[in-house]
Symmetry: C2
Subunit: 198 residues, 2 copies
DNA sequence: TTAAAACGTTAACAAAAGATAAGAAAAACA
DNA sequence: TGTTTTTCTTATCTTTTGTTAACGTTTTAA
């Protein structure tokens, strides 16, 4: 996909939150950067301040921690979606997790500098503030669901729930990543699967 | 506390996110409503669209679900803080949880209508959008931590973590609520406590 | 293409959690 | 104050999960 098409895909994705006029979009998109990341490459790393907000229009990624020397996969993202070490990006602090590509991927990058340019540019500021608010609100609601499922459901129920929604996740992701995502061990997930099939 | 003092407490709390000028604040605060809720009263209920964003300046509350006929406490809030059925408030959908006061409480209420008045008023719009964004971002980061603790830590570790941070929670909240919050049963929390003391 | 690494399942045992019930202590309240 | 309700702990038993290790299969990469 060329950069123009990528930019349009991004614009189209954003339209669920906000619609910039052509003129506004011309100003905003001038600052976008395009990036290709190979499978296993890192978009964000522990200990580094993430200066980039990414829009992944091709590919996928996983979020992971290292815990007692072991990788624990936290979350997945599939194109088209945002990809970001929010906390690090927003607070300008060193991050606590890695973001690694699951396949060769292509992204539109909004640097921290450009994001703030958009937040301060007279013509873009208001819509950009709203965009930022709506995006944060959207993910807030997602997190709310996720926490609720940890609090009110058993691992088996969480897995069944995932089967219902996350068709893509189930088919494209190694099972031990999914186990981590559910907060259990890979061995335990394997047993749950056997239990369900029986 | 009288309504003027309450309004000032609210303004002071908001100053961590944004500072309205006196003139702006005069416009904004005109629409605030004041509410007193007794212990056990509900701020939000399942099945009802929440039309109110609350700022609790005195008191505390818990968020809870009903699951198989049993209450499951999800979260706690202590003054001063926001209190809101976000998902319901933001999306105008019937809510999936209750918010119940843990003690007699006093709140500043921003109705959905007034919030949108603030988002659209020429003098307030920009700061209000930013306020909304910063609040959402703040809670997003909180949720991120909470999910990470479910994914990477055992119930016992989550409890120890809570002991470190949440002094208030530990002392003022019944233990079976805390057990719910940690995603385990009250019996299990009791055993964890014995294990730790030994 | 071949060697190495990663993946998923299963087994065996230990540790922890869920469910249920009983009883004591504390808190609510009338 | 006295009674009821709530809260917390403990015990027993069952179920589930964690841990470690083994094995066959698939994928990766040299």
């Amino acid at each position: 996909m060329d950069t123009l098409a990528a930019t349009e895909t991004f614009r189209d994705y954003l339209s669920r939150y906000i619609t910039y006029t052509d003129e506004e979009w011309a100003i905003a998109s001038k600052g976008f950067v395009f990036s290709t990341l190979k499978k296993k490459a890192y978009f964000a790393e522990v200990g580094k301040v993430s200066n980039e907000l990414g829009f992944i229009y091709k590919g996928s990624a996983r979020y992971l921690h290292i815990r007692n020397g072991e990788e624990i996969t936290n979350y997945f993202t599939f194109a088209p979606d945002f990809i970001s070490a929010y906390k690090s990006f927003l607070r300008r602090e060193p991050g606590h997790n890695y973001i690694q590509m699951l396949e060769d991927s292509e992204l539109v990058i909004v640097t921290h500098k450009h994001w703030h340019f958009m937040l301060e540019h007279p013509q873009l500021a208001h819509k950009t503030e709203r965009l930022g608010r709506l995006i944060a609100e959207h993910y807030l609601c997602c997190y709310d669901d996720r926490v609720a499922s940890f609090v009110t459901k058993s691992p088996e129920e969480r897995y069944l729930e995932l089967l219902d929604e996350g068709k893509e996740v189930i088919q494209r992701i190694p099972q031990h990543y999914i186990a981590n995502f559910l907060g259990i061990t890979p061995v335990s997930l394997s047993r749950i699967r056997r239990r369900i099939l029986a």
